[in-house]
C-alpha cells in the first residue's frame, strides 16, 4: 500500500501533505498527548530533515521551536544554526597523567548542554583503572561507578571517555534515516527532530558515546541553558538519541572558545583546538607527546587524542 502512495506522491508533489496526513493520522493521534493537537503539532510532524530545509524554512522552524521551548521551560531561548567555520577541524586532547577523576567535566557538560537531570544523562563517562594492571583498551577492568571520598584514589588512574568525533563514524553509517551526520568541522551531530529512536547508532558506536532519552528529559527551569544550537544543546525530546558535539553552540561562535569540559577542568588535562592550524595547542600536543587513540584497530579514526605529558 505504501508503495502506491509513494508513486502518487512522486507524480504530484502537491498531494504529499494530504496523503501523509491521512496515512499518519491514526499513529500520531495515539502518540501525542490528547487535547494538544493544534497547528504546531502538525508542523512539527511534517518538519523536514535539517538538510532539506532552506534558510526561510529553517528560520520558521527555529521560531516555532523557540516558542515550544518557552512554553515548556518558561524562558526565552536563542537557537542558533551557525555553520562550520572554514578551515577548521576540531580536535581534542586528554592528558591521562593529569586527570584526577573529579568528574567536574561530566557535570559542567550536563549544565552547558541541557542533558536530562531525571533520568540522568551524562555525555562523559570517567573510567577508573587500577594502576599496574592492564592497558586502557581492556575496559572490563575499569569502572565508572567509583565513589571514594577524595580523588584521585591511591593506586588508580582515570580515563574520561566521550564522543571521539571519529573521522569515519560507524554511527553515521548505520543510521537508517540520515538523522545523524558529520559536519564539515568534524563534529558528528544529530537532528533531534528527525531521529526515529531506533538506537542502531548506539549499537554501532564502539565508545559508548551515544545516549538515548528513555523518558521525557527533565531539567529544572533555573538550570536550563537558553543559549543553544539547533544541532547541539537545545532541549531534546523523549525517544531520541543525543551525544557530545564539542559544545557546538560555543566553539563555532568565536574562534578560540573552549567546550565546557575543557574550561572546567581544574588540572588542565583537556586540550581543544583546530587540527588544521599548525600553531594550535592540540597540534603541538599531537606532535610532541606520546599520543594514542582508543580502539585504533576499528579504523574509526577518532579526533580525540589521549596522551601522557609526564
Amino acid at each position: 500500500m505504501s508503495k502506491k502512495n509513494i508513486n502518487h506522491i512522486c507524480d504530484k508533489p502537491l498531494r504529499r501533505r494530504t496523503l501523509l496526513k491521512g496515512a499518519a493520522f491514526g499513529l500520531t493521534s495515539l502518540a501525542l498527548p490528547f487535547g494538544n493537537a493544534d497547528a504546531s503539532v502538525w508542523e512539527s510532524f511534517f518538519q523536514k530533515h535539517f538538510h532539506q530545509m532552506n534558510k526561510d524554512e529553517l528560520q520558521k522552524v527555529i521560531a516555532r521551536l523557540e516558542n515550544e521551548y518557552k512554553e515548556d521551560y518558561g524562558k526565552d531561548f536563542n537557537i542558533k544554526s551557525t555553520k562550520p567555520i572554514d578551515g577548521v577541524k576540531f580536535g581534542y586532547g586528554l592528558d591521562l597523567s593529569r586527570c584526577i577523576g573529579c568528574r567536574r567535566c561530566v557535570y559542567a557538560c550536563v549544565e552547558e548542554n541541557n542533558q536530562s537531570r531525571d533520568p540522568q544523562i551524562h555525555w562523559i563517562s570517567v573510567l577508573e583503572f587500577e594502576k599496574g594492571h592492564r592497558w586502557v583498551n581492556v575496559f572490563e577492568e575499569a569502572t565508572k561507578y567509583y565513589n571514594p571520598h577524595t580523588v584521585p584514589e591511591e593506586g588508580y588512574f582515570y580515563m574520561p571517555v566521550q564522543c571521539q568525533q571519529c573521522e569515519n563514524p560507524p554511527c553515521v553509517k548505520v543510521c537508517p534515516t540520515k538523522a545523524t551526520w558529520k559536519e564539515r568541522d568534524g563534529i558528528t551531530v544529530v537532528d533531534y527532530n528527525w531521529c526515529i529512536g531506533c538506537r542502531y547508532c548506539m549499537a554501532a558506536c564502539p565508545y559508548g558515546a551515544r545516549r538515548f532519552n528513555w523518558a521525557k528529559p527533565q531539567i529544572a527551569r533555573e538550570e536550563i541553558n537558553t543559549e543553544t544550537h539547533y544541532l547541539g544543546n537545545r532541549p531534546r525530546y523523549k525517544g531520541v538519541v543525543e551525544k557530545c558535539t564539542f559544545c557546538i553552540q560555543r566553539t563555532r561562535e568565536e574562534p578560540g572558545t573552549y567546550p565546557a569540559c575543557v574550561e572546567i577542568c581544574p588540572v588542565g588535562a583537556r586540550k581543544f583546538g583546530n587540527l588544521l592550524d599548525p600553531e594550535s595547542e592540540i597540534r603541538y600536543s599531537i606532535e610532541h607527546k606520546r599520543v594514542f587513540r582508543l580502539k585504533e584497530d576499528l579504523n574509526t579514526s577518532p579526533k580525540f587524542y589521549y596522551f601522557f605529558a609526564t
Binding site: 509513494i6 537508517p176 538523522a179 549499537a203 528513555w214 525517544g239 531520541v240
Partner: protein, 410 residues
C-alpha cells in the same frame, strides 16, 4: 446492479466462514483478543512514558523486542524450506501445503514489523525511513536494506497467497505461468531477509560477538529449523480442525530436512564455540557471559545450556527415522527446536552483543512487565491474523467456500 453488489455479497460469505466456529474457536479468539488488548494497553503506557518502562538502557539498548523480531525473521524465511522441495523438486505432498507456509511467512513478517515499531523511540516518525517520502540511508544502512527486503518479502508472499486464494475461491485454476516467477523470486528473497538481518548485527565492529562471519550462515541454518518445526505443529492442528488433508509423508519429509538444518546449525555453533574458547582473546567475554557467566553475572547461562541440550536432543530425534515418524517424539523434537532456537536466536543473540558493553560495563538485562505484555500482544496479533487467514483459506482450499463471479450474474 447485482453485478456491483456481488463483491459485497462475497465479502459477507467469507465473513460467515470466518466467524463461524465451535466453542474452542471462540475461546481461542477471545484469548487472543484479551492478550492483544492488554498488549495495546501496555504499549500506550510505553508511548506515554517512553521506553523507560522497558528494562533497556544505554548499556543494553536493544532487548526483548529486537530478540523476538530476529527470531520471527527466521520463521518467515522458513517458508522457503517448503517451496524448494515443492516446486524445484516437484515433491507433491509438500506442494499441497506450501500455501500454509507462505501464510505463516506473512503472519511472521507482520509480527516482525510490529516488534520493530514497538522498539522505536519515535514511531510516528517512521516515515522518515521510507524511500522518497523520507531520507532513507540506502545503501549505507543495513536497517534501510532490512526495511526493503522485509516489505518486499511480505509483498511477494501476499501476492502468491492471495492470487491462489482469489483464483480458487472463484473455482478457477491458478496459472503456474503467473505463480512460477513469484515462487522462484521468493527463494533467494527468503534467504536475503535472513542474510540482511544477520548483516545488520554482523556489520558492527563495535560488538565483537556479532562481528563474526559465522553469524549469517548460523542465522539461516537455525531459521530452517525453527520455522519448519513450527509448521509441523501447525499442520497437525490444521488437519485436525479442518478437512484439509496433509499427508504424513509431507510432515516426515519436513522433519528430515529440519534434522539436516539442525546438524549444520550445531556444527556452526561448535565452530564458533571452539574458536572463541581455544583462542581465548578478550573478545571471548560475551561467549563466556552466555555459557559460564561473567564476573558473577549469569542471567542467560541456564537458558543457553537448555537451548543447546534441546537442539542437540531434537537433532537426534529427527535424525532417526524411528523417532522422526513417531508423532510423540516428533512433536517433542519440534517443541524443543522452537524453544531452543527462540532462546539462541532471540535473547541469546541480541544480549551478548551488549554484554560486556563497549566500555566494559556489565548491565544485566531481562525484559520488564511492559516488554513482556507488549510482546505477548504482538504474538497474539500474529496468531489472530494467522487464524483468521486460515479460517478463510482452508475452506477455499478444500472447495467448501466458493464465490459467485459477478459477470455471470444471478
Amino acid at each position: 446492479m447485482s453485478d456491483l453488489l456481488q463483491p459485497i455479497r462475497n465479502f459477507f460469505t467469507a465473513l460467515k466462514f470466518i466467524t463461524k466456529g465451535g466453542t474452542g474457536y471462540y475461546a481461542w479468539l477471545a484469548f487472543l483478543a484479551m492478550l492483544i488488548v492488554y498488549g495495546l494497553y501496555s504499549y500506550i503506557t510505553q508511548l506515554d512514558q517512553g521506553l523507560i518502562v522497558t528494562n533497556m538502557r544505554d548499556q543494553v539498548s536493544w532487548g526483548f523486542y529486537i530478540s523476538n523480531f530476529t527470531f520471527l525473521v527466521g520463521v518467515a524465511a522458513a517458508a522457503v524450506l517448503l517451496v524448494i522441495p515443492a516446486y524445484l523438486y516437484n515433491f507433491k505432498p509438500i506442494k499441497e501445503i506450501v500455501l500454509l507456509g507462505e501464510m505463516l511467512a506473512i503472519a511472521a513478517i507482520i509480527m516482525c514489523l510490529l516488534f520493530v515499531i514497538s522498539d522505536m523511540g519515535r514511531p510516528e516518525r517512521g516515515w522518515h525511513i521510507l524511500p522518497f517520502l523520507g531520507t532513507m540511508n540506502f545503501p549505507a544502512s543495513l536497517l534501510a536494506w532490512d526495511v526493503l527486503v522485509l516489505n518486499g518479502y511480505l509483498a511477494i508472499n501476499c501476492i502468491a497467497v492471495f492470487y491462489v486464494l482469489y483464483k480458487l475461491s472463484y473455482g478457477k485454476e491458478y496459472k503456474m505461468s503467473f505463480l512460477w516467477p513469484i515462487i522462484i523470486l521468493s527463494i533467494p528473497w527468503a534467504v536475503s531477509i535472513h542474510t540482511v538481518t544477520a548483516f545488520l548485527y554482523n556489520g558492527l565492529s563495535s560488538r565483537p560477538f556479532w562481528n563474526a562471519s559465522i553469524l549469517a550462515p548460523r542465522f539461516i541454518a537455525s531459521a530452517l529449523c525453527s520455522g519448519p518445526a513450527l509448521m509441523i505443529i501447525l499442520f497437525q492442528i490444521v488437519r485436525k480442525v479442518s478437512e484439509m488433508e496433509i499427508s504424513n509423508t509431507a510432515i516426515f519429509k519436513i522433519a528430515e530436512l529440519i534434522a539436516y538444518a539442525m546438524g549444520i546449525n550445531l556444527f556452526l555453533f561448535m565452530a564458533e564455540f571452539f574458536k572463541e574458547f581455544y583462542s581465548g582473546s578478550i573478545h571471548l567475554a560475551p561467549m563466556e557471559y552466555l555459557y559460564f557467566g561473567l564476573h558473577g553475572h549469569s542471567n542467560l547461562v541456564a537458558w543457553m545450556w537448555l537451548a543447546f541440550i534441546f537442539n542437540l536432543s531434537a537433532f537426534f530425534l529427527l535424525l532417526r527415522p524411528k523417532t522422526r515418524e513417531n508423532f510423540f517424539t516428533l512433536n517433542m523434537a519440534c517443541v524443543m527446536i522452537i524453544t531452543g532456537v527462540y532462546i539462541e536466536k532471540g535473547m541469546g543473540l541480541i544480549i551478548p552483543g551488549f554484554i560486556p558493553g563497549t566500555l566494559g560495563e556489565i548491565y544485566e538485562y531481562g525484559p520488564s512487565a511492559v516488554e513482556k505484555s507488549v510482546s505477548m500482544g504482538v504474538w497474539a496479533f500474529g496468531a489472530l491474523f494467522f487464524t483468521l487467514l486460515l479460517k478463510f483459506a482452508l475452506p477455499v482450499y478444500t472447495g467448501k467456500l466458493r464465490f459467485k463471479a459477478s459477470e455471470s450474474g444471478d
